[in-house]
Structure formats: C-alpha cells, structure tokens
C-alpha cells in the first residue's frame, strides 16, 4: 500500500499561483526607458498541480530551477496564498489560522537561517522553546535525543558564526523539530554540505521518520531522493510531470540499462541491434544504452558477442540523474507513476 493510499496527510488539488511583475531592461538605455514606462507581465509559477502525501512518508519534490517547487512549499507552509486551488495539511488549511497551524509543522529553508549569528545555538533553542511553549522535561529529552543523533556535543554551546556549514545545518534541523512537529518541510536542506554531513542529515531524517514525522523535501541532490524518498513528485514549468515511487520513476523511460564494454580490439562502424552507442571513452571503451524490456539481457549479450570481442562488460541501471535530466528536458508532458 502506498503512503498516499494509507491516509493522506497532505492534500493538494489544482493548486495555482500567479505573480505580476515588470519587465526590466538589461542595457543602460532599457533601464532608463523602464524608469518612465514599464511593461507588466504575468508569471504562472504553479499551474494546477495536485498530489497527496501520506502520513509518515517522505516525499521528494523535484524540478529544475524556477519550476515552482519553493513556491509550492511556501503555499504548503501557509506563508503564501494560492491564486486558486485547495490545500489541506493534517486537516488544516495552511493560510488560515496560521498560529495554530505552524505549531504542528516545522521547516528548514536551506538559505534562511533561524539561528542567531552571534550567540550559541543553545540560546536560539531556548528561545524557540519559549515560543512553542515546550515543557522543560520534554524539551530536554528531545534536545538530548537530537543532539545525540547528530553527535553534536559541545558544538551547540559555541557561537553560530564559528560553526561550519554542516554543523549549522544540523542545528537548524534541531531548531525546526524541537516542538515535535508532525510534518516537516525541507527546502534544499543539504545544499553546500560535504558528503559526511549530508549522510548524517539523511540518517537523521530517516530516524525521525521512523518515529512518525512526515517529511516533504525539495532537493537537487538525487542521492537525497534515492536514499530517502518513497514518493517523488516532479514539477516542471509549474506543472506536475511525475507522481509515483522511485522504481516507477526509473521505469519512466522504459527498463533501460547502461552497458560499458571494453573491446579486445578496435571495431570501426560497430552496430549492436536494439542498443545505441551513447559514448566512446577511447577506441576500446564504449558505452551503450539498451531497453531490456524490449530485448532481454541474454539476447543483448548474444548480439554483442556475435559482433565483437570484448575483454570486460558491465550492465547497470540508468543513473537517476539521467532519468531526471530527460524528464526535465522533455518539458511538461505528464508521466504517470
């Protein structure tokens, strides 16, 4: 049973957001002209998207830059009114009863810090404790648990400005989750972090998810998606182009495999039936792509061995990056998951 079918925690129907802005020139003359007369333009940042997020799930919201992901997340957090459409999160309509709604959610926006720069995170935590009205016992227990998960130790008692980006991001997570929110929105939480810090954040998200927190995550890091997301929603040009799980995502382009072949000797004009040569690293090293749903692997291997001699071969799944890139490039044609 999918997360969405288990019980929708978040319901989005025909969500649309339109902005009005002005065309500004780039050359000096255009800038001076636009000082006296400006052309108004309408931008549809989000265009009629609908999806569900199940309770206790982790949903990845993907899309190229400017696709409408952050605008969608802002509407889900109640900090932006939609132009039209419906949103329901845990029974709340986010942009109504803001104070009551935001008690139930947490958010980490990668570029917008809640921590106060010149003092230790522990002081910022205490401030949030007062704002959310967290009882002391619960606060101590939860803070201790999260600090242990992140192995922060005394770091929380150093001024924020001396912490590394990874340490600061861990503290941002703690800040966002001290009050035990049921749903947490993450907008590019691993941006700029090293591989170890990223892995710690992912492990943390998994641990908290196991305790029942629902996560909605926007990211450009596909490792985040592969490790965490059980549901993926892809937005492009403001429209939803994919909604399903990871295995369905991989199969959107068919059951494609990448074959790396090391030839025994150069083979000019080599052609393999039902496979396409997509790269040549040298005279002897080729990369092919084949759809094994159309040609089984055994048949493919027969085709290759009948046409050339090779000293090494590897067959792997199409990288997620390639899948996503092709979906982004294909535009807004929706793909069912």
């Amino acid at each position: 049973m999918t997360d969405a079918a288990r019980g929708s925690c978040i319901r989005v129907r025909d969500l649309t957001k339109t902005y009005e802005t002005y065309k500004r020139g780039s050359t000096f003359a255009e800038t001076v002209r636009s000082f006296f007369r400006r052309e108004r333009i309408e931008v549809k940042a989000v265009d009629g998207i609908s999806f569900d997020v199940g309770e206790g799930g982790i949903t990845g919201l993907l899309g190229p830059n400017g696709a409408g992901k952050s605008t969608t997340v802002k509407m889900l957090t109640g900090t932006l009114f939609p132009t039209s459409g419906e949103i329901e999160v845990m029974g709340y309509v986010p942009f109504r009863n803001r104070a009551r709604y935001v008690r139930q959610i947490g958010a980490v926006f990668g570029q917008k810090s809640q921590l106060i720069w010149d003092i230790p995170p522990s002081d910022s935590f205490m401030m949030n404790r007062a704002i959310y009205g967290i009882p002391k016992g619960e606060y101590d227990k939860r803070l201790g648990m999260m600090c242990e998960l992140f192995e922060l130790g005394e770091i929380v008692n150093k001024p924020t400005r001396v912490l590394s980006l990874g340490e600061r991001m861990k503290c941002e997570f703690i800040m966002a989750m001290l009050h035990n929110p049921k749903v947490v929105f993450l907008d590019e939480p691993t941006i700029g972090l090293d591989v170890i810090a990223k892995q710690r954040i992912r492990d943390f998200i998994r641990e908290m998810n196991a305790l029942g927190t629902t996560f909605v995550l926007t990211t450009h890091d596909l490792e985040d998606v592969e490790q965490l997301a059980r549901q993926v929603v892809i937005i492009n040009h403001g429209q939803k182009v994919f909604d399903g799980d990871l295995s369905a995502l991989r199969k959107t382009l068919g059951d494609k495999k990448i074959i790396r072949l090391t030839l025994a000797k150069p083979a000019e004009g080599l052609e393999i039936p039902n496979a396409v040569i997509t790269g040549r690293d040298s005279e002897l090293e080729l990369t092919l792509e084949a759809d094994v749903s159309k040609t089984p692997v055994s048949a493919l291997l027969k085709n290759i061995s009948s046409r050339c001699e090779f000293t090494d071969i590897s067959i792997k799944e199409l990288p997620m990056e390639t899948v996503i890139t092709r979906i982004y490039q294909d535009g807004s044609a929706p793909i069912r998951g």
């Binding site: 000096f28 800038t31 001396v162």
Partner: protein, 256 residues
Amino acid sequence: MAIFGECFRISLSTAMAYRANFIMVMTILFFSNTLFPLVTILIYGSGSGFPGWTFYEVLLIQAVFTISSGIGEVFFNGLFWNTNFAIRDGLFEVSLLKPVNALFWGVVSSIQPTGISVVLGGVAMAAVALAHTAPLTVASVSMAALLFLCGVSVTFSVTCFMSAISFKWVGNSRIPEMFGSILDFAKYPQDVFPLAVRGFTTIVMPVAMIGYYPAAALLGRADGASFVAIVPCAIFSVFAIWFYQKMIHRYEGVGG
C-alpha cells in the same frame, strides 16, 4: 578612469532599477538640506544669533559643508558601508581578488548617484546666502576653491578612517555616528568654540576645513590660520590612506 566610468554607469542603473525608491531618496536628500540650517533659522528667529556673524554668513558655512558632504555622499560614503558589511560577512576577499588597489576599488564600486541631490541642496543654500552677503572677488573665490578641495579631501579622509576602523570594530554600524558628532563642530563659526576645540578641528582632525574655512574665504574673512590649515589636511589625508592600507593587513576572514 575607464573603471570609474563603468562603475558610475552601473551604480546609476542599479539605483534607477528601484524607481520609487530612487525618486524618494533624491527628494528626501534634497529637502533634508533645507531642513539642515533650520536650527540656525530658529536661533536667529528668536532674536539672537552667533556674535559677529549674520544669519546668511552662518548659512554659507552650512551650505559649503553640505556641498562637501554631498560630494562625499556620491563618491566616498559608500566605501564605509561596503567595507563594513564585507568585513562582517567575511567577503572582503572578493575586493582583494580584484587586480586594482583595494581602496580605489572600494571607492569606485560604492558610488551613490542619489547624493547629487545633497550637492544641489547645498548649492541652493549657497546661492541664497551669497545673495545677502558681500560681493565675491576673484581672490576670495580662488582661495575658497583651494580650501574647498582641501575640505573634500578631509571628507574623503574621514570616510577612510571610518572604513579602516571597521576592520577592528567589526560590524559596528555606529562608527559614522561617532565621526558625525565630531563633524558637528564644523557646521558652526569656529569662534564660538574655545581655543582647544578650534585647535583640534583645525590641526588634529581638520573638519573645520569642510565648511568654515572655505566659507570664511568666500566672505573675505580668511586669515593666516586658513592657509596654515591646509597642511594638516594634507597630513590627515596621507595618514588616513596609510591607515586604511595598514588595516587591510589585519583583515580576518571570519568577520571578527
């Protein structure tokens, strides 16, 4: 000059991109200068004044101060804010990576065209003042022009000092306030102050050159002290530039 011209063009484009704010800032800065001598107007309106000085003579001191401040507003003041913020945020390296002198880059990349309205306000005040004072002579105008240039150099030097202090007092946005309180002495006839104060504002930190001495020259009231005051201006400028360069070496990349 090419770099300067390009930076001026960019700063004008940037300022004009925010149309409402550009118009508002220009208007505010212009009218704020008609409010500037308000205290003087009200003092003389009460029936009193500064002994030995008419209202228009005091207004001329404040007009010259305003014109010099306006030039500072356009060309120099941005140096302080950009330096202050860059040091605080650990971004000063961006300036140091440019293949030009850091102080030069700091000045040309901080031009604020809206300050032109302050200059215009000062010119308007000066026109009103000069219409009610003794006629100008070639000698008085020449002398005043020389002293005015010295005053502009003092304005630049004060900004240099403030920017240099930013390397030590990281993130302190009140440094201009501190220097502003010293500059207050320069807005009035210097003979209202005791000798010790006048010595400070003429020799140690020659802020009196920003308004008083050039105005006194225009009024034909320049004396030996006016000429002597040129030397401290030169020394002050050299010291300010040296101080700024020295403080760059102390720069700490973590913003203090």
